[in-house]
C-alpha cells in the first residue's frame, strides 16, 4: 500500500520531467532521421559523380564498353538515391525539389527520337509529346518560339522541364539520363531492355542523327543532377534548413513527417502509381525504370529506405553504418505489440520485394512479370502490392499508438496551410 502510494506520488511529481524526456526522445529520433537523410543524399551525390565521370568518358570515346560502364554507374547511383525517397513525402523542401531529379513517367519523345508505333503519335495531354529537342534547334513551347541551338542547363531545366504544365515533360533527372543511356525498350513484354548503340553518341560514326547534340544533352543533364544533389546535401547538413526545420520545430510534427514519408511512399506512390498501375495495364511502358529494366531494384531500395527510417539505421555505400535512437524505440515505448507488428510487416514487404528481385535476376525482367497472361509473374508483383498495403496499415497503427492524430494529406490549398484552418 505504502509502496504504491509512494509510486503514485513520485509519478505525479515526475510528470513534467517525463514529458520533457519524451520530447528529448523525439528530438533524438529526429536527429537520427536527419543524419540518415544527409548520409543518403551524400551517397547519392558520390555515386552521381562517378556517373558523371563515366558519362564524360562515354562522350569522349563512345564505345560499347564506355556505354556499358556508364550504365553500370547509373544503376549504382540508384541504390542510395532510392533509399532517400522516403524523405520526399512529408518534407515539403524535398518534395518541391524532387521533380527535377526523379520525375517519372516521361514522354521521352520530348528529348530524342522514338519509335512511333510503340510510343504513339499524339497525346490528349501533351502538345510537345514528340518535340525531340535533340533533333530540333528551334521549338515552340508554351506558345512561344524557343531557341534550342545550344543545349544548356537553362534550356532543359527552365524551359523544357514540365513545359506546358505537363508533368510528363521530364527533361532532367535520373530518368532522362536513363533514356539517353539505354533508349526505348522495344521488346514489349519480351526479354531485353533498351538497346541504344554507343554510336548514337559518336561524332565520327553517328547513328540516328544529331550525335553531338545527344552527347551534349546527356552531359548537361548529368551535370545538372550533380548540382541538384549538392543542393539537397546542403539542405540536410549541420546548418541546413531541412535539418533545422525539423529539429527546431514541434517534435511531434517532425515525427509525423517521418511517418508521412513512410506511409505515402509505401502506399500511394509505390504500391499504387509505380506498381499496381503497370500490373493492371500489363504494359511494359508502365514500369519505373522502363529503359534500363532496373525497376526491381528501384522498388527494393525504396523499401530498404522505409525500413531505415523506422529502425533508425542506414548502411552507407562504403559499408559504414549511421544509426541512433529510432521510431521503433518510440513506438515500442508506447505499445510493444504495434512495434512488433510493424517490424514484421516491414520484413514481409522486404521478403516480397526480394522474391521480385530474385525472379528478375533468374527468370524474367520486371516488365515481363507484369505482362498479360503471365499468372506466375503477376502473382509475384501482386504479393509486393499486398505487402505494401498491409505495411501501410501498420504505419497507421503506429501513428495511432504515438497519439499523432492527423497525418498525411495530398495537396490542396486548404490543407497546405493547416494552421489557417484551425485558427
Amino acid at each position: 500500500m505504502r509502496l504504491s502510494g509512494t509510486l503514485a506520488a513520485a509519478g505525479l511529481a515526475l510528470m513534467p520531467a517525463v514529458a520533457l524526456a519524451d520530447g528529448h526522445g523525439k528530438m533524438a529520433v529526429l536527429e537520427t532521421y536527419a543524419d540518415i537523410a544527409h548520409a543518403g543524399y551524400e551517397d547519392s551525390l558520390i555515386t552521381a559523380r562517378a556517373l558523371q565521370q563515366a558519362v564524360d568518358a562515354l562522350v569522349a570515346d563512345p564505345t560499347e564498353a564506355s556505354l556499358a560502364a556508364a550504365r553500370e554507374s547509373w544503376i549504382a547511383a540508384r541504390v542510395p538515391y532510392q533509399q532517400t525517397e522516403v524523405f520526399r513525402f512529408g518534407n515539403a523542401v524535398v518534395d518541391d525539389w524532387e521533380g527535377k531529379v526523379n520525375a517519372w513517367p516521361l514522354d521521352e519523345g520530348l528529348i530524342d527520337y522514338v519509335d512511333g508505333g510503340l510510343y504513339g503519335a499524339e497525346s490528349d495531354e501533351n502538345p510537345i509529346f514528340t518535340a525531340n529537342v535533340i533533333a530540333n534547334k528551334s521549338l515552340k513551347v508554351n506558345g512561344e518560339a524557343v531557341d534550342a541551338s545550344v543545349i544548356t542547363k537553362t534550356l532543359i531545366a527552365d524551359v523544357l522541364h514540365e513545359a506546358e504544365e505537363v508533368e510528363a515533360n521530364v527533361a532532367t533527372g535520373y530518368h532522362a539520363i536513363e533514356f539517353l543511356l539505354w533508349g526505348q525498350d522495344l521488346n514489349g513484354s519480351g526479354p531485353g531492355a533498351g538497346n541504344r548503340p554507343a554510336s548514337d553518341f559518336s561524332t565520327a560514326d553517328c547513328t540516328n542523327g544529331n550525335c553531338d547534340r545527344r552527347a551534349a544533352y546527356l552531359k548537361v543533364a548529368t551535370d545538372l543532377l550533380i548540382d541538384d544533389l549538392e543542393e539537397m546535401v546542403a539542405l540536410w547538413d549541420q546548418n541546413g534548413p531541412a535539418r533545422k526545420g525539423l529539429l527546431t520545430g514541434n517534435p511531434e510534427a517532425g515525427i509525423t513527417t517521418m511517418l508521412t514519408g513512410m506511409g505515402s511512399l509505401s502506399y500511394g506512390e509505390l504500391a499504387g502509381e509505380r506498381i499496381k498501375l503497370g500490373l493492371m495495364l500489363h504494359d511494359p511502358e508502365e514500369e519505373h525504370d522502363c529503359f534500363s529494366d532496373n525497376t526491381h531494384y528501384s522498388h527494393f531500395y525504396n523499401q530498404v529506405g522505409i525500413t531505415n527510417v523506422y529502425l533508425g539505421t542506414y548502411k552507407r555505400i562504403d559499408g559504414s553504418v549511421v544509426s541512433g535512437p529510432s521510431l521503433s524505440d518510440l513506438v515500442a515505448g508506447k505499445d510493444s505489440a504495434v512495434d512488433t507488428e510493424m517490424k514484421e510487416k516491414l520484413g514481409a514487404a522486404r521478403t516480397a520485394m526480394q522474391a521480385m528481385v530474385d525472379r528478375a535476376k533468374t527468370v524474367e525482367a520486371y516488365d515481363q512479370m507484369i505482362g498479360e497472361g503471365n499468372a506466375e509473374g503477376n502473382a509475384v508483383i501482386e504479393t509486393v502490392v499486398q505487402s505494401l498495403t498491409t505495411q501501410t496499415r501498420s504505419i497507421e497503427r503506429a501513428v495511432a499508438a504515438l497519439g499523432l492524430g492527423q497525418i498525411a494529406f495530398e495537396g490542396s490549398d486548404s490543407l497546405d496551410n493547416p494552421q489557417a484552418v484551425f485558427q
Binding site: 490528349d124 511531434e252 499504387g272 499496381k276 499523432l404 492524430g405 492527423q406 495530398e410
Partner: protein
Amino acid sequence: MNLPMMPSVRGLSAVATMGLAVLSAAPAAADDFAVLNGAIVEDYLLPRYETLADAGSALDAALRQDCGAGTLATDPSIAAYHRMADAWMAVQHLRFGPSELFLRADRIQFWPDKRGITGRHLGRLIAEADPAALEPQRFAQGSVAVQGLPALERLFFAPPEGADPAFACDVAVAIGANLKSIAGGMLADWREGPAPYAAVIRSAAEGNASYMDAKEASLQFAKALRAALVATTDLKLDRPLGTSAEAVKPRRAESWRSARSLRNIRINIETAEALYEGEGRGGFAALLRRQAAGETVDQDIRAAFAQARSRLDALPDSLQAALDQPDGWQRLDDLRGDLRGLLALLSGPFSQTLDLPLGFNSFDGD
C-alpha cells in the same frame, strides 16, 4: 500528387476536447461505431451496390440487343451507359473490400489516364481485330484500360479511326458483359460467400483479419467520405481547370466525351453528403452531434455541403458547356473553393471530434 506536411495540432485541440467532454457528452464509444457501421452497410452501401448490379445487367442487355441488330451507339445503349455511369459515381469512392478485390474499381473505370493509355490500348485492340482477345476470361484479365466505362465511352462518342463497326460492336458487348460480371461480383461479395464483407464489417467489433475493432471500420468509411471529395477537387476540378481561365485543359475532365463531367461531380457530392448524413438510422452527422462541440462542426459541414450543391445545381452536366458560359471558369473555381473548405472541415474538426485520423488514401501518390 503532392503530399505536403500536415503538422500535428492535435495535441492542443485534444486537450480542449477533453476539457469539454468532462462537462457534457462522453466521447464516441466502440458501440457507437458498431451501430454506425451497421447503418452504413445496410442503408447506404448495399442499396448502391444493388443499383450498380442492376445497371450492369441492363447495360449488358442493351448492348447485346442493339449490337445484335448491327448498331452500336443507339439511344437505349447510350441511356444504359449513362445509367451505369450514374450508379458507378455513387460507389466510386468506396475503395476497399470487394471493390479492391481483383482490381474491380480500376476495371470499371481506369481514370485519370494521364498518359493516354486507353486510346493506345483500345486503338491496338480494334486495329488487331482479334476475336480471341474478347474471349470473356482473357478480356477480363487483360489491360484494365479497354474493359470499362472509359473505353465504352470512346466507342460511343469517339470511336478509333478506321474501326470495323462490327468488331467495335463486339468490343462494346464484351465490355457490357464484363461490367455486368464485375458489378454482380461486387454485390455478391458484400452479401454472400464464406466471408461476406457486410459480415466482416459487422464482426469488426470483435476484431478480425481486416479490422482491429469497430472504430477502425468506421475510420474506413470516414476515409471514403474524404476520398470522394479529394478525388472531386484534385482530379476532377483542379486538373482541367488549372490556375486560370486561360490555362484550362477540358480534355483532362472525367467523361468529357459523353459531356457528363459535372453530372459525375453532382452525384459524387450527393453521395458523399448521404454518407455523412446517414440514410435512415443516422450516419456520421448524428454521432458528431452527440460529441462535445459537435453541433457546431455538424452545422458547418451541412452548410458547406448545401453551398456546394446549390452551386452545382446552377451548372450544366458538361464541364465544357459550363466553361463556355461567360463566368463559367469562375463559377467552377468557386465550387472548387467550396469543396476545399469542406475538406478542411473533415480533415480538421470532424476528424478530431470523432477521433478518426484520416491517414493515407488510395488517391495519394503523384
